[in-house]
């Protein structure tokens, strides 16, 4: 009996590979070959650029002219350029300065015995009325103290020790830096001693409660300081503002303020050219009102000085000082709507046509199918967003500049974050739309849900429709938090300003806000994988 071995049948056809690369290729082919989707993706980029350009051109600045509009100018003739600080940032630099020249190393010491102020609650103040219409009181960041400043030009490097309205003693230098010293407000009963010591281009600040025991507050480097600097006393008072947020409107009331600081025991050590103090209103050509310019002064009696000033030495706050560069990225909203439509159809069209059954038959591991879809649509949306933002940002900013806007300077690193962040926003929103589409399987419901979740909270918060408290929570908790990644403005605690979403300030930092959107996308994706495995296709 002979045994015959039976060779089992093997197909001569090569085994098809079913790796992840093949899945990616399959999904990429789907995206590439549906004409409507390609049109939608190109449209997303075009709309982003188009609306950015429209916003830039629509930001035409007009100025001058009489009440009847005659003689008014517009465009580049109206551009108002604020002074720039040592790091290239826009700054406010106007205050009253009683100064002497200091050549080489030295130090200044002064005792502040009081800080008082006046503020106007009704907007502008009448020149004829004098300071009679103003209310007594200091602002939280009213400041008076001693300062070492490169020269009297606006924007030059400085280091200052100061007493403030309600933030205690501070050392501030080069506009953006702020270090806290002794708490409390200066008064005759509890005066505050301040000292600045200059050594080369380094300035060290000290404070003391008795003039005997000194505490070092901080050290500042004045970049490129020449041997001769201006040293002296100063007083400054930022504008008084109260913003009332109406439903659909936001109005700020407020007005100019004055701060008066009283100094005694002023001593200056070092090679000083003149023995007398010169009073200069720094930045007096900036619009601060005739009256305030008249009120600014220095009075001397019995070794005590009384300095009255207005203005602020601080980074420029966003409103009114210039155009934030990210306004050119406003078209991203239009682009996102197009991306959401395409990404939703990328899934829901398969359900509508029944293609999903073929897809899942060809690749039964459903989680991997969804992963491939997410990777493909994410990468495609990222590229679309990157191209759109990389064109829209410089183009929109260029047009806005030509139309008279002053663009707030930002570092190229920040610009790169705005562009890459917008691209990442496109990618994650596309992933969210695919996940929601897998869950709901219906185009209309998916598109509406994703648009409403991302765009509506932004509108409610930013188009100043809700009180700022609610607006902050909306931009903290909803997917709209991700638009923080398009923010270039920096909120400074030492500057009182209206830091609300409506003014371009999001409550979360850029990447934290973006992480909120990522969390929503991850949650939706997890649910989608679970449901896709569990449900019949």
């Amino acid at each position: 009996m002979s045994t015959t071995t039976v060779t089992p049948y093997r197909s001569a056809v090569h085994v098809g590979r079913d790796g992840f690369a093949q899945l990616l290729r399959a999904e990429w082919t789907k995206v590439r070959t549906v004409r409507g989707w390609s049109i939608g993706l190109v449209l997303a980029a075009l709309l982003t650029v188009l609306f950015g350009v429209l916003a830039a051109v629509g930001g035409q600045i007009s100025c001058g002219g009489g009440p009847d509009g005659s003689g008014s100018k517009s465009g580049a003739a109206c551009r108002q350029v604020p002074p720039l600080g040592p790091d290239g940032e826009a700054v406010s630099d106007s205050f009253y300065f009683a100064h002497q020249t200091l050549a080489g190393d030295g130090s200044i010491t002064a005792r502040v015995t009081s800080l008082t102020g006046l503020y106007s609650t009704h907007g502008g103040i009448e020149v004829d009325a004098g300071t009679a219409g103003m209310t007594p009181g200091t602002q939280p960041w009213s400041k008076a103290g001693i300062i070492v400043k490169e020269n009297t030009t606006q924007g030059s490097p400085y280091a200052a020790m100061m007493t403030t309205g309600s933030n205690g003693v501070r050392m501030q230098y080069n506009y953006t830096r702020d270090i806290a010293g002794e708490p409390g407000m200066a008064s005759a009963a509890s005066p505050q001693w301040l000292r600045l010591t200059r050594s080369g281009d380094t300035v060290t600040g000290y404070d003391s409660v008795d003039g005997v025991h000194w505490t070092e507050v901080g050290t500042a480097v004045l970049p490129g300081a020449s041997s001769t600097v201006q040293v002296g006393m100063f007083a400054a008072a930022p504008n008084y503002t109260v913003t009332s947020q109406g439903f659909g409107t936001a109005s700020a009331v407020g007005g100019p303020t004055l701060t008066t600081g009283t100094f005694d025991d002023v001593s200056l050590q070092g090679a000083s050219a003149a023995g007398t103090w010169t009073g200069t209103a720094i930045g007096s050509d900036s619009p601060r009102g005739q009256l305030l310019a008249q009120a600014e002064q220095v009075q001397q009696s019995d070794g005590a000085f009384s300095l009255t000033g207005t203005g602020d030495i601080a980074p420029a706050s966003g409103q009114g000082s210039g155009r934030p560069v990210e306004q050119s990225l406003v078209g991203a909203f239009a682009g996102l709507i197009a991306i959401i439509v395409v990404a939703a159809m990328f899934v829901t069209a398969e359900y509508r046509r029944g293609l999903i059954r073929l897809t899942l038959a060809a690749s039964p591991r459903r989680g991997r199918v969804l992963a491939a879809k997410v990777v493909v649509i994410g990468v495609v949306a990222f590229v679309v967003g990157l191209v759109a933002a990389a064109v829209a940002l410089p183009l929109g900013d260029h047009l806005a500049y030509n139309h008279g806007s002053y663009l707030l300077p930002v570092s190229s690193l920040t610009k790169a974050r705005l562009i890459v962040g917008t691209a990442a926003l496109f990618a994650v929103v596309a992933v969210l739309a695919v996940a929601v589409g897998t869950l709901l399987r219906r185009s209309a419901a998916t598109v509406t849900l994703v648009i409403v979740a991302i765009v509506l909270p932004y509108i409610l918060a930013v188009a100043s429709v809700l009180p700022s408290g609610v607006a902050e929570w909306l931009t903290r908790l909803t997917p709209a938090a991700a638009f923080a990644i398009q923010q270039s403005l920096v909120a400074y605690p030492q500057v009182t300003a209206n830091y609300t979403p409506a003014n371009g300030y999001f409550p979360l930092s850029p990447w934290a806000g973006f992480a909120v959107l990522c969390a929503y996308a991850a949650l939706a994706l997890g649910l989608a994988v679970y449901q896709l495995r569990r449900r019949d296709a």
């Binding site: 916003a55 947020q245 409107t249 439509v341 409403v452 509108i459 609610v470």
Partner: protein
């Protein structure tokens, strides 16, 4: 004569159909009523319709109530418009009204039902008119409930948040002319948004594209208006964009500061809706289904 008995029963059985045929040349009204009935049956028996109608009511009411209870008025003349706040939910409700309208058209295209519809009822504009009547009817009913509820919630909640006579605010009441106009106008606003969506859906057929277009048209205008600082262009956007113009109907205070009057604003939205429906109807007639 022998043929007659065999013919007669046949004539009897087909009598109803023949009666229809007899009526056809001058039966515009009946045809309209039947079209309406057919569309009513379709819309009524779709499982989604009732949920969408409920969602219009519930979401509008929920957001309105949240807005009413989040806004406070601490001082006299606190620059708030209680009428507008109490109806804030319309901004979300309109998205659901848009889905309802878009699905009434796009749903038929996605399943191929539209070919059966047009075979049975070849007058396509009549079909669109019937859909428009039903969708706006559903929206009007859902909107009325939502708006009445929203005003009621605001009436109960807002006096506790400082909207009192001492601060210069009267109790919200439907008998107040401005509040009545805002409330009735918001219901009409929802219906007009539904009609606008219906027209756009007839134009582009696909539901995802249609809803994307509608929501883009509605929601982009306030965002764009926010960055356009040129006052001329800014007020142009607010006057002619469907959402910002249409929602002017909700203002009850400080009407002089509005970029466009309440009824004029709703008129702008009506013009948008009419243009969309006319274009949609024309394309429906000219294009293959």
């Amino acid at each position: 004569m022998s043929q007659a008995p065999s013919v007669e029963p046949r004539a009897l059985t087909t009598s109803t159909r023949r009666a229809d045929l007899d009526r056809e040349p001058c039966a515009g009204r009946t045809r309209w009523r039947e079209t309406l009935h057919a569309e009513w049956t379709k819309l009524r028996t779709l499982p989604g319709t009732i949920w969408l109608v409920l969602a219009i009511t519930v979401l509008t009411l929920a957001v309105s109530a949240a807005a009413s209870s989040s806004v406070t008025c601490p001082t006299v003349d606190c620059n708030q418009d209680p009428g507008k706040i109490s109806l804030a939910g319309v901004e979300l409700g309109q998205a659901v009204a848009a889905i309802l309208a878009v699905l009434a058209v796009s749903g038929e295209y996605s399943t191929g039902m539209i070919r059966v519809t047009f075979t049975a009822m070849p007058r396509r504009t009549t079909v669109l008119a019937a859909k428009a009547a039903l969708v706006s009817g559903f929206t009007l009913i859902a909107g009325s409930v939502a708006v009445l509820g929203s005003v009621l919630v605001a009436r109960l909640v807002m006096p506790g948040h400082g909207f009192t006579a001492a601060h210069g605010y009267r109790l919200l009441s439907p008998t107040d002319g401005a509040v009545l106009r805002a409330a009735a106008g918001s219901v009409l606003y929802l219906a007009l948004i539904a009609l606008l969506s219906l027209g756009i859906a007839a134009l582009v057929r696909d539901s995802a594209v249609a809803i994307g277009l509608v929501l883009g048209l509605l929601y982009l205008s306030p965002i764009i208006a926010g960055v356009v600082t040129d006052p001329h262009w800014h007020s142009r956007i607010e006057r002619y964009a469907p959402m910002s113009a249409g929602l002017a109907i909700q203002a009850t205070r400080n009407l002089a500061a509005l970029p466009i009057g309440p009824w004029e604003g709703l008129g702008v939205l009506a013009a948008w809706a009419a243009a969309a429906l006319l274009t949609g109807g024309a394309v429906l007639r000219l294009r293959d289904a």
